[in-house]
Symmetry: D2
Subunit: 423 residues, 4 copies
């Protein structure tokens, strides 16, 4: 992780306060019962997210830097350490999904306890130590922002499994359709592009190793693929025609009898989708979301186009730098249609993570940090595909054009979408 240490104490304290508060705001609409379940292995209980992000600060900030700090609870380090892999003994064969204790109210108390001690530390720390501490604190906050996105997607999944179809928050007016934006393809000239993070703020280790990559001329679609376009693919038998699919994608589609994106439900011949606003009709101009890499790739094949590589995406972001996006800051938590009034490249930032046809591998010269923090990214560099640009569940302060998100190609519970390239 790379970070400059010029941030003043009050600034970091304010940033800490805001980010920590957002986590609790996200969880506020939940019942205690909602925070304990794990319907699929990808989804963690919200309670666990709240505790695990707190454990990070206790372990890497308070224990080493605040002298005399005593752990809130001696077993919490065991319970909320996501890195710990040892096989449990017999009575303790727990899984995250059966951890009913500590109850949610204790997790809030744990958060408060740690926050108060972090503030205390920031008051008393000497400047030399602060320089050393700041990168760790910054990493903890970036880490918490990542878990905020997971909180949103995990809550959505948890509520979707309930036949009562609970509403997390009512729909905003802004999420209504804005009308149709025509699909166009914008030129990105070939040549040598510099890939990787070169700034002086925070970035993850997987963005380092700045290097040149040669790109051929190509065209990038001006917006994300819409539900309307995706429905054409569905209605054309797209899920049934093996010619569009990678073999493992086809196997997944058949084994799970998939015929639509995640959360879609057909009722009386009309498509609905479950969202954080409850069940609602599919809005044609909104970008298609909650699709796997396999579906994105099959759609592209059907459309006679292809997905971008992560290098083409980053090159395009240099040609058409994104200014803003629909992030968590909008509090909509659903992607918006493109704006028909706008020219140029839209939705590169926010709305939905864009699947690229690039495997999540190390950049040249990638090295892992020593110690536990070194496990952060490198050990996942196999069998996953890179996604770029952030989503409506990402914080605007968290994203960069060099940011590399990554998921297995079959995952659908994230806010994922499709951007096409044309040769």
């Amino acid at each position: 992780m790379s970070i400059q240490t010029s941030i003043a104490t009050p600034a970091i304290q304010q940033q800490y306060q805001q980010i920590r508060a957002l986590t609790e705001a996200i969880c506020r609409p939940l019942e205690p019962e909602d925070t304990v379940v794990q319907p699929i292995v990808d989804v963690s209980p919200p309670k666990w997210h709240m505790a695990h992000t707190t454990w990070f600060f206790e372990t890497f900030v308070l224990t080493p830097y605040l002298s005399g700090y005593e752990l809130y609870h001696p077993r919490y380090s065991f319970l909320f350490n996501s890195y710990y892999n040892a096989v449990g003994s017999r009575v303790q064969r727990h899984q995250r999904s059966t951890l009913t204790r500590p109850p949610l109210r204790d997790i809030y108390a744990y958060r408060q306890h740690v926050d108060e001690h972090v503030y205390q530390l920031l008051q008393q720390i000497r400047d030399e130590e602060l320089a050393e501490l700041l990168p760790v604190l910054q990493l903890g906050l970036q880490h918490e922002q990542q878990h905020q996105e997971l909180l949103v997607t995990d809550i959505k999944y948890i509520l979707s499994t309930n036949p009562l179809l609970p509403v997390y928050q009512p729909a905003s007016q802004e999420t209504d359709a804005r009308g149709s934006t025509e699909a166009r393809f914008l030129e990105v000239p070939g040549g040598s592009y510099t890939i990787g993070y070169q700034g002086d703020g925070f970035c993850f280790d997987n963005e380092l190793g700045v290097h040149e990559v040669r790109i051929e001329d190509f065209q990038i679609m001006n917006r994300l693929v819409t539900n309307r376009e995706y429905l054409e693919f569905m209605e054309d038998g797209g899920y049934k025609d093996f010619r569009h699919w990678l073999d493992e994608g086809l196997a997944m589609v058949r084994a799970q009898s998939l015929e639509a994106p995640l959360y879609w439900l057909k009722q009386e011949n009309e498509w609905y989708r479950f969202s954080l606003h409850g069940l609602e009709k599919v809005r044609p101009e909104a970008p298609v979301s909650h699709i796997s890499f396999y579906e994105a790739d099959a759609y592209a094949n059907w459309a006679g186009k292809r997905l971008l590589t992560e290098f083409e995406w980053e090159a395009a972001s240099q040609v058409y730098p994104p200014q803003s996006g629909n992030f968590t800051d909008s509090q909509l938590l659903e992607p918006l249609p493109a704006d028909p009034a706008k020219d140029g490249l839209q939705q590169l930032y926010g709305d939905l993570w864009e699947w690229t046809y690039s495997a999540y591998h190390p950049y040249p010269g990638f090295t892992k940090a020593p110690g536990a923090i070194g496990e952060y990214n490198g050990k996942f560099m196999i069998n996953q595909m890179v996604l770029r640009g952030g989503s409506c569940a990402t914080s605007g302060s968290h994203i960069r054009t060099t940011y590399r998100n990554f998921f297995h190609p079959d995952k659908r519970w994230q806010f994922t979408g499709i951007r096409l390239a044309n040769k």
Copy 2:
């Protein structure tokens, strides 16, 4: 189900009140988060037990008998009907373990709503209708008592999976050892015994079909097998020696690397067990509990004895009629050692369900009641073994010497124990 209808309205109302109150008393020490999880498929979330028993009264008592009754919630019948097997549609692929809504407080409200309407019904019902209603009401109460036992065993299992080893209730003084009671074998003379329920109170359909069974002379052990005795089996390599085991039992023991009863844990060379009082040392004179039929049978083989058949057990109960036992009424929720001061047959009632070497099959002339209530027992009459006598988690008013409980031979989370026969 057989039931006499001479019970007066105030009596049934009081009985209803007491039984319904016990369910809530059992759940009182729980956090809302405890009531939602399902660590193994055998265990149901406590919240579900509370709602399902209530659904029974709503569906079979209020809807048909209380004119103008409106359902508390139109979807609860779907959520809390254990009989309903249809495959859920896509968004609704719920399992009991992810049903975070309705929250626990709504379940309490649901219970109160149904209880109030049952009281209202009992006030206004005419005598002719009461005669028809009483058997259904009685069945609902018996059903709730069965779920009370499951609540206790499921709560124990849920808490046991938590590394914090939570205490459900502190240990009582009475559960301390009383000293050792010598094992003796009491004679039961051979001959023809009448099996099945012949009284005029309530019984389940599986106890009917009274018939004669011929028994050979045999001897019955005066008490349950103790932890001390079972430890000898363990220390003699009992879990490793294939000669003691049924083949499928051996496969289970090997696949799960079993070497002790459920909830046992070895720490620093000493055996502990998780109980509703938290983790405690294994008490040598208490009866060994939470063992499968396979372990009971292997122990008996090792000891050169055998298990009783259910007919032998019922015959013994005619020769040595049990008077009392350690039931939920004692509020101990753990089995007690036998009493060294007593002669004769002990622990036939209460403490632990006793595995018999009898498959759970229909008695001659068994017929299922028409309708949903007919699904109560008959459809489970395969691959399960009969257990007799009730346990410390059974209500004293629920048991009879003809009562037939049944579980698959590999199950260990119930309060099960071992009684030996000698040829």
Copy 3:
């Protein structure tokens, strides 16, 4: 095992020769490739059956009784010992289904080698030793007869998985329908019947423990249920209606989408079945075969009847002693329709094993023989149901009215059928 030792040497030698020859006759139509596969875990490769039965004689007859005998191959004991359960080391993680070596021709050589030494032993053995040897030899032959039945059913299953639908042997004229035999119910008077083997020939240990069982009056169907009758059940939605089914049976039917007996196939609206004669139309008057206990029980429920217990079956065989049956001796290897020209109880012997509603449990006083032979029956006495009467794949010399066969209630690849009782 109980056996009288009055059999003369030439008689046993001739019996040995005949039984061993039948095994090879059963395998003669096979290709070497047919003898090596194991499409489901219940089915063993024919090559393995041929070797395993030979291993029995080598291990329990030649090694202890023929001085100077050397094992045919030092590893065969490991390969062909069905009792051996140890976990294999890494290179050797074999399963029966990948044991391509030794090739079939070596197995024939192994059989010949062992046979020659058995004859040599019989020539030279002294009378006192013969008395000790005969029970073992007899057990080996009974064991081989059991594997002959498995050979027939396993070969049928193996060939059925091949899209070429290979013919094992052409159909005989005798298997054609004989016309319809009306179903009638014959009286069996209630009372006390003696159950178990009392003769002076061979029997298995599970038939011993002769004891009295009290039976109520009942009626037994005069023949097996036919395909025509079973089709009525199917066409009445029998496989879909949960009311007929045990719960675990229903779960199996749904999980496997069952809608007909094993080997049935619908083509152009007509039912065919795969048999050892290839694919043929379902013959309406032949008894329905290859059904599970669950299907037998569901059919009986649908018909308003029930299955017999094993004690009722044995009692009926005392009232209506069977004289003959369609066994392997007929070389038909398929069940025949009942004979409309005959009165009385038909098909009690042969044609199809009849599922009873009795769990396979020990008789009173059951004891296992010491040593490996003691593992023969006792360790399987859980979760299995008793079948009676033998089938078209059983040798006539192998069956008795006290013979207890047993399979799990979900098994369908044996020659199993339905006999009904009426209260």
Copy 4:
């Protein structure tokens, strides 16, 4: 596929003859029983390989080009078409592993039938048609060479599962150690390299899309990693130390309790390995083989080095062009130690496929051919890693420096090894 059509008829006929003959030579040491099993899903029965490669010529060469050609058997197209994915009907729920028919001798007859008709076609075909046919024929032969490699690796796996540890062919003298070759790292200068096939012979579609890739300076190890070196990793606890492993690799190692390469077996404290010559001691100077990508990557991390990308490998092959290698042509079928007498880059061709840290993705401009042949490569371009250079089971005439082989990162049954890069 790209192919020049200047090859004369006699030349292609000779090439056809030689390649087809090699397939049968590889299978000659097998028993019929060896050719039918499928111990793991990756391994196909040898019989199937022999038939499937023949089906290719029947389907794509004879049926379209030889007028009047009749299929050898109408069902073989169904049986031996690896592309066919439809769910089988009930009787036909075959898997490759239970296809005992057609027997091996019929497969030989099928091969002969197709070969004769191919020769007949080549005699009578007109030049214009030959130009069209040649690419297909060439693809069929390349396809058969690929299956020859699979035949060798599948046979090795099949025999390895047999406790008799059968010998496929005796070891040759040449496979003895040649002494130790010191590990050195050779410079490959950074810059822009042209990647992909530019020649005028045959290549696969996945090698086309020639493009420039920019490489940084790096060093390449002069030979493959040896067993001796790999044993140091093992003895240093390499399989236990999570720091060396990708997370999914660690999960595999733990789930399968891996502690050595495939086929290794420890006996009396010494390491042996199963090979096509039977069980033999691990030879220290031979290259370590049958390791997964995960093991290759973990070894590289432990050694403080890394694997090459496929682009670096191809660049190195331009700087140090390989001349020859240990291919099937040597008939050794095992990798050889490097030659201590030689300088420079060794073993780039042959011996073992070298895992690269490159995902198997399309080159820029990749397009699939229309029709069934288009399914050849493109649909596998996910979750697999590229391997380069061929192995001792590859034909020398089959390899190119641009050749891209690919397997999932957990696969170990191929002849795979490790080549290190140093930054």
